[in-house]
Symmetry: C2
DNA sequence: GGGATATAGTTGCGTTTGCAACTAAAATCC
DNA sequence: GGATTTTAGTTGCAAACGCAACTATATCCC
């Protein structure tokens, strides 16, 4: 595994890293201003929305929503209390729980999305040409896949 | 301010956003495994290291280290307790405090950097050609600058 | 120059998160 | 098939952060 770092690559990181935080904070601020839940909610609900039967096991959800297992447990506690998802025991594995999106969850997702989309457009997409967007997708798709398995 | 979002741009976001979290988590994990302080420490110390006379006002530091003012106050509390920086009253403005990097702070910075650099190389740079790195720098420089002033 | 306003930093408090330890249910192994 | 190990999820606890309120100093404006 190579650990050298060219000046060019370092420069790329030095711009990429803080820009992410700014964009992220700006989008969160917009959601908050619209009295909507934060991106962590959206991430979980969206993963469920995409999943077959709108349900996932807790551990799968933790992985795809980029949270620790304990972090997810607490987040699902809050989401369940709000009624946007429900825990269901897994019929085939007594240890497992499924988190299942409710209709209310779908509705919440649909309320968040316009604001989220506008944030992505304003703080991110507005500064990329179509060609650049394609490149960014390619590059970070690669980065994402490589980071899947640790080390 | 445009808020439409092409499929291409959306796809770019959908790869960019989670890849950042994975890379970030992987680097933090490496730092933690090496019993080194986290990136938030590095960010603050590095900003001071780059600043004239290795010192910055709290509010400047908060902005450049991407933290809220209160968050910075607490972080500087911890850093000061570790002796890697020191608060100094500002001679020209009785309200202001300077955070000033100590020699120990420089030493800590130098201990963190090799691990951080290796993380950037492994999880990020290894997946970008030189040309792509230049483009990423250009693109996210633009994104960063635009996000400077809200709305 | 003195009262109103703005700015710098800190503090109280609540929220969110992760690690490590724990419980319970598979899966493995002899 | 019963003991051991692994896996799924939860819980105790502490760390880190942000918002709103607060204190102290500076600036503005008449």
């Amino acid at each position: 595994m190579k650990t050298e770092l060219s000046k060019t690559h370092l420069e790329a990181w030095r711009r990429y890293y803080p820009s992410f935080w700014r964009v992220y904070a700006a989008i969160e601020a917009d959601l908050d201003a619209a009295k909507l839940p934060s991106l962590s909610w959206y991430d979980v609900l969206y993963q469920l929305y995409m999943a077959p039967e709108r349900r996932l096991r807790m551990s799968e959800l933790a992985r795809s929503a980029l949270l620790s297992r304990s972090g997810l447990t607490r987040l699902v506690d809050r989401l369940e209390k709000e009624g946007v998802l429900a825990r269901k025991a897994c019929p085939t594995d007594g240890r497992a729980q499924h988190a299942e999106l409710t209709d209310k969850g779908v509705a919440v997702l649909r309320k968040i999305w316009p604001v989220y989309r506008a944030g992505i457009a304003k703080y991110f997409a507005a500064h990329l040409s179509e060609a650049e967007a394609r490149q960014v997708a390619t590059i970070f798709g690669r980065v994402f896949d490589a980071a899947e398995c640790k080390e």
